[in-house]
């Protein structure tokens, strides 16, 4: 039997990871390449809403229907990534009653279950809603952890034989005889799990088909292949609060606009967002007014947000796409639907398919469609099973409660660990070694950190997205160096560890810059003191390229003079 067809998937976001899983489960050979760590692009920079479809129930009912279908699927296959919060569309006095009714009717038309709550009932559910909220529509929105979701998809793909290459940038699309036959990839630091400090290299990965799932970067990949993919990146800001002001997703019930959603996410709430077109998905301004506006606007729904502590803000870039003939002026008018661009039909370039647009909630459906398409092109007949087979970690959660007492962890630590690890909790947390809490803000123990290092190699940001370590209120102030220590213990050398540690601190700092007032400013000053002075992160000779010859230091005055009265050199 001939070897199975081999597909290269470009992009380690939800779509790419979903496609890789689907292809691998259908028996195809898969290599996924991603320029950063998994979720590096838009997937890692969204507010973690698992749409019920309610948001699109008036403006885009096709998307709304897809959302509610996939919402139900993900509750089954990704239980450990989903927090079933429910959602509210709340109406303030100045919001249109007509729109409220349209929303309700739209949900009904799209099979989205609803319940209308009075203002008092809504406040009973969420006590911090503003007193003048008149009424609300309950919908089955939920919170989803995009990191965990993508990592689980990638892990599943790997289990089915896929090769996952992070920190590997596509530098060219190889076209031979008018067809795409592979990609040229620059590995940042060597193939396989990323290892700093060893030599990187260029690799040509040949493929029977290439899937361009590069999101905001899809246009760039298209360019390399000589086809025009008009992605219109649009940025949006999200602000992370220190605590959960609400336990239910809160949307403002009005036609699409900025700053109209609060999503409870793990220990935090995420406020969002804005919508502004940018030229370059990698280089755009992050401006304080965007953060201020989001907080001010949402405080109309939840007044306590005004004085609440924010821990950071981040920006994501939507990879919006619209067919060339539409030409919207305002990015908010561009559809949120996804498009499959079959380059053989469209551009007379066989061997490559691009997927653009869409949203995380429907990632699996998009993946299914593109996998169907690729299979059809490659003449493979296999059914999609991604809607039926649970992701790793969501396999069987019945035994979870027993874990709580088993691992000798303090209650909230055990609970959070099991929430994150799902059905993997047993294999990860069951250790004979001491298992102290490394990140106290998010309750992450050493065993979970070590598990993440095993999965992701030397990238501490990859450890972060797997575990939430450094994502709590101190933003790594108290645990970044402990993570570095774990990396060192795992056998990586000083320089590798230090480089990874630097990257982690830089990434944490990037978001904190937009939260530096009040409580988080105090926090940042303390973290600065810890990092810069205690650990001398500012001017550490050990950061230099040369190894420090610690043996060259003398043994000190006591040893030199043989007694406590020895010379102190003054």
């Amino acid at each position: 039997m001939a070897q199975e067809p081999h597909v290269v998937v470009v992009g380690g976001g939800s779509t790419g990871a979903g496609v890789a899983r689907d292809l691998a489960m259908r028996g195809l050979g898969v290599t996924l390449v991603e320029q950063g760590n998994l979720t590096h692009g838009t997937t890692g920079r969204m507010h973690g809403l698992l749409h019920s479809g309610g948001r699109y129930a008036v403006s885009d009912q096709a998307s709304a229907r897809e959302c509610i279908i996939e919402n139900r699927v993900l509750r089954e296959i990704a239980t450990h990534c989903v927090d079933e919060t429910g959602g509210l569309f709340v109406k303030r006095p100045e919001d249109s009653e007509q729109y409220f009714q349209e929303k309700l009717a739209g949900c009904e038309a799209c099979d989205i279950p609803t319940k209308v709550l009075s203002g008092a009932e809504a406040r009973q559910l969420e006590p911090h809603l503003a007193d003048d909220v008149e009424k609300a529509i309950w919908v089955p929105d939920a919170a989803i952890d995009p990191f965990r979701l993508v990592v689980a998809n990638a892990a599943s793909a790997q289990e089915h034989g896929a090769r996952i290459e992070t920190h590997s940038t596509v530098t060219d699309v190889v076209v031979e005889d008018g067809a795409v036959v592979g990609v040229e990839v620059e590995h940042a630091t060597g193939a396989g799990k990323r290892v700093h400090g060893t030599e990187g290299g260029t690799e040509v990965i040949r493929a029977d088909h290439v899937v361009n799932a590069a999101g905001a970067w899809a246009g760039r990949l298209g360019e390399m292949a000589g086809v025009d993919v008009e992605v219109r990146p649009s940025k949006g800001v999200m602000t992370v609060m220190n605590t959960r002001q609400v336990d239910t997703v809160v949307n403002r019930c009005r036609p699409k606009g900025d700053a109209d959603i609060v999503v409870p996410h793990e220990t935090t709430c995420i406020l969002g967002t804005t919508d502004e077109e940018v030229a370059d998905p990698e280089d755009y301004p992050e401006q304080q007014w965007e953060v201020d506006m989001v907080i001010d606007e949402l405080a109309e729904l939840i007044p306590m947000l005004d004085d609440a502590r924010t821990v950071r803000s981040f920006w994501g870039v939507r990879p919006l796409y619209e067919p060339p003939d539409v030409d919207s002026d305002d990015p908010t008018d561009i559809t949120r639907d996804y498009f499959l661009l079959a380059h053989d039909d469209r551009d007379d370039l066989p061997g490559m398919t691009t997927i653009v647009g869409g949203k995380l909630t429907t990632y699996r459906m998009m993946a299914e469609e593109i996998t169907d398409h690729v299979c059809e092109r490659l003449g493979v007949t296999a059914d999609c099973r991604t809607a039926d087979v649970a992701l790793p970690g969501s396999a069987d959660n019945t035994a979870l409660d027993d874990y709580m007492t088993e691992f000798g962890l303090r209650s909230p630590v055990a609970q959070r660990s099991v929430d994150r690890l799902g059905s993997r909790a047993g294999s990860v947390l069951d250790t004979d070694d001491p298992n102290p809490t490394i990140c106290a803000c998010e309750a992450v123990t050493r065993a979970e950190i070590q598990d993440a290092i095993e999965q992701s190699g030397t990238d501490l940001n990859a450890v972060r997205i797997r575990t939430r370590a450094t994502m709590g209120n101190c933003q790594g102030g108290f645990c970044a160096h402990r993570l570095a220590n774990e990396l060192h213990t795992a056998g990586y050398d000083d320089a590798t560890v230090r480089a990874s540690w630097d990257e982690l601190l830089a990434e944490r700092w990037r978001g904190q810059r937009h939260a530096l007032w009040g409580d988080q400013l105090s926090q940042a000053m303390l973290s600065y003191a810890l990092h810069a002075t205690t650990q001398n992160r500012g001017h550490d000779p050990a950061d230099a390229d040369t190894e420090i010859d610690f043996t060259a230091f003398d043994a000190g005055p006591l040893a030199a003079d043989g007694g406590p009265e020895g010379a102190h050199g003054n």
């Binding site: 609440a308 609970q415 106290a440 007032w517």
Partner: protein, 465 residues
Amino acid sequence: MSDSESDSTTTTAENRFEPATPNVGEKFDPVALHDDTDDFDLRPESDSCYKCSTCDTNCPVAEVDDDFPGPKFQGPEQWRLKEQSDDEDHEIDDSITECSNCMRCDSACPSGVSLSQMHNTARGEYVDDQMSKRSLKYWRNRILANYRTSARIASTLPRLANAAMNFGPARWVMEKTLGVTSEREFPAFATETFREWWQARGGAAASKERAQARRRERGEPVDADKKVAYFHGCYANYNTPEVGQAMVRVYEHFGYEIVVPKQGCSGTPMFANGMLDDARRHADITVSSMSDLIEEGYDAIASCTSCSMALRQEYPELFDIDGIETVASNTFEAVEYLRIHEPLRETVQSADIDGELADEFAYHAPCHARSQGLDRQAVELFGDLDGVGIDDVGDSCSGISGTYGWKEEKYETSMEIGDDMFDHMESAEGDTGLTECPTCAMQMEHGTGYEVRHPLELLEAALVD
């Protein structure tokens, strides 16, 4: 938002931390989440914690017990990790019962986080939801926390109770069945309670006459507005009425008329055992009578620093009762109040003392006095008093923390925490102790064998003929 944000931050910061005044947790107005509950929003507390760990380094339990995760974990960290709608899955860690509620973390915190409020709330939730109501430990704690009830019964036959409570075989049984340590001797019940004495003496009417007579002697207007309501608490009523009597005589000496209103237990031992419903019942009684009196111009005075702490800080943090804020902001410790309103220091300077109390005292400042900013009060005041010497035995916790040190499983920890204080008492001059807190007094006596007195008794001896 930057502008308005910086404004609001400044105001909050001012409310939050004012080093010159005691940190009594007034940084934010507690908002009851629902009308019918006492659930307060602790988000501001969690937001204010920047994890510096100063609370952990000030925790006397963490100092001697490496397994105790400390106040930062018990308070803001656990609250934040636990806070989620599917609450039933997120349990309170059982280490919350190791906290002794000394409340040192409150005053240690540079950000004004009311850690004790978070601990009290978590402990209440732990006891309500996770502790078996059929366990002996629950009933042991409930009995210890409701000391007032036992004391009321015992006081009807004080001599018999005193004999029975310290009867060896009975104590052995109490330790084996209930887990009440047999190492300690139960405090003696007075043969006449403070309230009995007060009634026999003529109550408020007699006090008014005496106060007016003293005002005349002092050259003050006879109808001067000097009236206080005395919160004696359980211990001064049932065990040490001499402290309550000293309070009455000292206050009348300064021309104050006193009333002794209907009152419950302050709730201190109930908070410490997570029995918030019990505490609430008692608080209802006290707040109701005290707030009426305060409306009439009285101030509330306590001679026990844990009682004044409860009324001032824990009540408004934990309960939503009509008038509770009024009570909290008009409650004072007995000596503190006189320092504010009378030339107490000068009066003491020109006084002297002889007789039984002309002595050298080893003074221990209770943690709850420290939290109210009163830890140097007795030393500074009596340092100027002829006839007595006073040594501060340092800033350690006595370790007993009310009912904590009475629990068989906590006894060793309690004594280990107390070690510093015992050492300092031994090396201080004299062999009489002095403190405001009745349970600290038990520990001082237990660890050193010293007799222990209350500052009000010294004031009485110095000032009242």
